[in-house]
Amino acid sequence: MTDPVLTFTDRGIYCPAGDFYIDPWRPVDRALITHGHADHARPGHGRYLATHAALPVMRHRLGDITAEGIAYGETRQIGGANVSFHPAGHLPGSAQIRIEVDGYVWVASGDYKTTDDGFCEPYEPVRCHSFITECTFGLPVFTWEPQAKVAEEINAWWQTCVAEGKTALLGAYSLGKAQRLLSLLDPIGPILTHGAVEATNEILRTQGYALPETIHVTPDLDVKAQKGALVLAPPSALGSQWARRFRNPSTSFASGWMRIRGIRRRRGMDRGFVLSDHADWPGLQEAIKATGAETVYATHGYTEIFSKWLKEEGYDAHVLQTEFGDDGQSEEAV
């Protein structure tokens, strides 16, 4: 038996043949990054490698980093390993990382969703021997409705807000989910954005992602003049002083967690839309099957339950302890 392609250390997932880490959570010399969310792209590494599409947001968030871009599908040799990045469908620029050493292929999927959202680069299955999968929503209670149906619900809610003279406040994580939502909104009224969302919008627009027109909420913007507006902001901003400027608000939140009534109610929002950038239960099964992998490492979510299920399905499945997400509902993980 040859040495494993990837090993698991207290700094993160490590490739001995290439002497690099994937999404490490402590500072390392060389980091390959799947996507720009803060639990995957952390500051302090010597060198970064990520897709061309993921880099601009990472630079914005991490500041002055030494980083190199790579195209989807391009193979690069690092030490004794051949690596390539493949679309993960999680958000613009997100990738699964394929590592091949001596004919053995491993894929670290980062976060992924299998359905095409019409906005970011759609997920592509990659054949491998060992697959590291997230399982944020790795329970059979998590199945997503088609995106078109959720979009219809969101637009209907906005329409109702307009008819009732309310401001529609939609909470969504500022990188990824917010832009995906923008691509789903009907032209019902003006779209106002929180600074965190707008900063990402600008970067993605420059990269050529098609986004509708948005208005950045600045202190001198007269929000009362924006009749029938929808406001897009990170969920934490909705309960803050910042949101008080919007009169008669109807609040909502778009996340996979909104599938669960208890969580929906605890959020205390008027509406919860079930929309996730992670694979649902059927999506995870389908993805794992498509890789052809015999060994599966479950990380990020209901790992114990999910790996037990995979074992029963005949996989050589293991739990992988990482510091992605927060065993639950961090803002990044929605």
Binding site: L139, P140, V141, F142, T143, R259, I260, R261, G262, I263, R265, R266, G268, D270, R271, G272, Y302, I305, K308, W309, E312, D326, D327, G328, Q329
Partner: protein, 529 residues
Amino acid sequence: MKRFTRLFTTLDQTTKTTLKTKALAEYFITAPDEDKLWCIALFSGRRPKRAINATELRNLAAEQARIPLWLFEESYPIVGDLAETISLVLPPPTRDSDLPLSRWIEQLRAMTGLPLDERKAQILDAWDQLDTAERFVFTKLVTGGFRIGISRKLMTRALAQATDQDEAALALKLMGNWTPETTSYHDLIEKDDPRADGSRPYPFYLAYQLESEAKNLGPPADWQAEWKWDGIRGQLILRDGEHHLWSRGEELLTDRFPEFERAPDFLPDGTVFDGELLAWDDGPLPFATLQPRITRKTVSKKLLRDAPVSLLAYDLLEIGGDDIRHLPLKERRQCLETMLENAPPDSPVRLSPKLDFESWDALADTRATARTHRAEGLMLKRCDAPYLAGRKKGDWWKWKLDPLTVDAVMIYAQQGHGRRANLFTDFTFAVWNGNELTPFTKAYSGLSDSEFEEITRWVRRNTLQRFGPVRQVKPEHVFEIAFEGIQESPRHKSGIALRFPRMSRWRRDKPVNEANSLNDLKSLLKLYG
């Protein structure tokens, strides 16, 4: 079912009372009568019987979802509700239908008595024609549990709006022993005969806890003081030669308390008492003595002997068949005292004494002795106030004793249910017994949402061991536990049981070794047990 599910979803989506009332009122205007009646029944705690037991239902759902039972069981605590878990794991329906709510409930009721296979087939058939939200509502009905945070008061208000009736009059109509099988929407709501059902109680008048100092209430002479008993609130009704006993939760308790069978022998017909049910033998017995009398539906001779019950009457609501709630308290009290004057010494209905007092300071001294009278504190009632319906401020106040407290160490944690699913909210606490921590109580309430979220994150990182859903955590956090009473209990490892324990404070300032000891609890037991 679609209309009712829409109502349910609307109620569930908003936290605003006005929107809930509006949605309910709209339902009461637009739904068919049979559905309205069931809606009223469901929101006033009159649920259809369980059509199948929970174990069979879980098996059926897991089978239909093609997942192993263990995976279903793992999902359940994360969702926090059985019916919801089922509605989420099932494959999408293959058909669509829109039978009215009452038809579905009729079908459920017809199911009892059918062979299990037949019941299973009917449930599967139903799941296959309902969408996720409808399935949730339907499965809630199947499991016999239907609590969704709509108070009866809110429902009554909406119904009053929809039917243009007085809310209090309507509340009276909704009380009593009816079910949708024994009445119709017209007879219950629209007909003008609130006393058609002789067993019907009046809505209870409920007091708030006193908010400021008692002396701010004005001259002592305007107020009547009584013990606040630690029993269960009850209404005893004597009408048409029969007697009926109701709890405040509107449970008909008549059969559980045969003591009152002889009340009509010496008390006049057309009388309604309000009071407290207490285990009583020449004086009040501990609440724990009353407990088995509340839970057990059949009463053995031994239990009757060990735990005799009396009603400590403190108000009179009806006399000679006339509603006297509008009279001032001092007049009602007069009638009450006259009525009980000639009752035999062993009467199960006793007068709850008035506590005379000259000044608020003197009354405060009386209050301080409440525990020795097995009372929780005092009730203050304005002498010229009528008997109102529901919880109202101003005329009645609870002036409870401050709770007893101990500082205890959290040692086990478990996730909550429903709104608190995915949060660790159910904790077990321990006190020092030498060098060991002995568990003595559980507590679920008292922390804010953000404190629960903080402790949840901590529990996830500091779990020592898992026992199913229970996690043993590092003994690191001290909480002040407040409680209303303490009793001996051979069933518990610590030998004691607390009444109404809750977390009153997170003692971040206290190191674990400064938590209280079992000996401290035993001294409290000696004083107040």
